[in-house]
Symmetry: C2
Subunit: 249 residues, 2 copies
């Protein structure tokens, strides 16, 4: 029995999220279908976590066990002809038995992409939150600084969350401007339901001057939603990378 670790990128626009569903087309459905053919047997994938409908991935990780003998390089090459072009296996490697994309993960990095633009670009509608405002990144970074370390993130958990503990540790939380793009990078040991998108929405309130960084700190420490929050659109969110070693600053 071999255990394989695959890194997968996908444009989530056309899919009902990552996680397998009976009556909807998801990324996992497609991947399992193709990988089962390539492995010569029905395989079941473990993903590092779900992504919602419309959310994208540069570095989703999936693991599987198979008796199939296809070499990893051949698997990547053959998958390009079988997968739709919006799902790409970037790398594949054999790993030690027991490796599990979700349970072995130590931390994850997400990015959220905002475009400060003059009009509603048809090229960005599926890939970013487009806004006319110019954001105050200094204020947003001051607020984001409060996220670092270990906190109770209940204030940024959407209802419908199944996670038991709201305690998470954030290693990275930073806004950067690249041309007309504004990118938020956040890395941590785990994320509650809609947490990144709720954080982005609240931080944008700071960036447009509707709240102060101190308001944001109060919101975080309140541990429950006293402020109006709503998740930023799925289209701007990217699962960037999943790490299987401890965070090292």
């Amino acid at each position: 029995m071999r255990t394989l670790k695959l890194v997968v990128a996908y444009d989530g626009s056309a899919y009902h999220g990552f996680q397998k569903q009976k009556n909807a087309v998801t990324v996992q459905n497609i991947l399992e279908e193709v990988l089962s053919k390539l492995c010569g047997e029905t395989v079941v994938l473990a993903g590092s976590g779900r992504t919602d409908a419309g959310v994208h991935a540069w570095g989703q990780v999936v693991s599987l066990e198979t008796k199939g003998s296809i070499p990893c390089a051949n698997l990547i090459r053959a998958s390009k002809k079988m997968l739709p072009p919006d799902i790409v296996i970037i790398s594949a490697e054999e790993v030690e038995a027991g490796f599990h994309a979700r349970y072995s993960a130590k931390w994850k990095r997400y990015q959220y992409r905002i475009v400060e633009n003059e009009f509603d670009s048809p090229f960005e509608v599926k890939y970013a939150w487009q806004m006319r405002e110019t954001l105050d990144l200094e204020a947003m970074n001051e607020a984001a600084g409060y996220l670092l370390g270990t906190h109770d993130f209940s204030a940024f958990r959407s209802s419908g969350s199944v996670e038991t503990s709201p305690i998470r540790t954030m290693h990275e939380a930073k806004w950067e401007r690249r041309g007309k793009e504004v990118i938020f990078t956040i890395g941590g040991d785990g994320f509650l339901y809609h947490m990144v998108r709720n954080l982005v929405w609240s931080l944008v309130q700071v960036g447009t001057g509707k709240r102060t960084p101190e308001d944001f700190a109060v919101e975080l420490s309140a541990k429950r939603c006293e402020f109006l929050n709503e998740p930023a659109s799925a289209q701007g969110l990217y699962l960037k990378e999943v790490f299987y070693e401890d965070y090292a600053p």
Copy 2:
């Protein structure tokens, strides 16, 4: 009777080109449907020119005549709710009678987008030509320099072309690197069928060392296709801007 000039951006991925067709969904079909509703009468659009299936536009121009009285600002606002998000009316203005998007145009600018990348990105597949090679932009710009001025472009016209004269004048032809993107900008008074995509393909042969800039000059002056040419993929091509004044360097 009012004459309106609209600038339209679209993601061409989902459409069978710009030009109206009876049994296929095209950008013009959609625009005429929505604009007829907004003008309160059936309107017929004139586009500055066709774009092929999969080709995009930042600045396609369309003109129409209407008795409808809707103010231009309202037309833009209302169209956002009626058009699919991959077609956007960027601007609308009333112009003098007789203005025609195609016949009044003096010159056009196209861009072609190449991504030098490490893998086949699911995010670029509809928006660029992805290649693993690193292109020699100096050689490509040397070759592109031969395009400036007035030439017979027969060597770069695909069969199926309906244009009578193969003589065109190019005002701009330049390659630029922006991060991992390589952008070709070409501006001229008109383009033959598949001309930009054929030029891009040939210039990339120069950029990868398969031909020299001098080979390219010979190809251009041959006025017929002695070299193997094929159009670069539609996905990388963007109609950037249509100009209604003479070119001024």
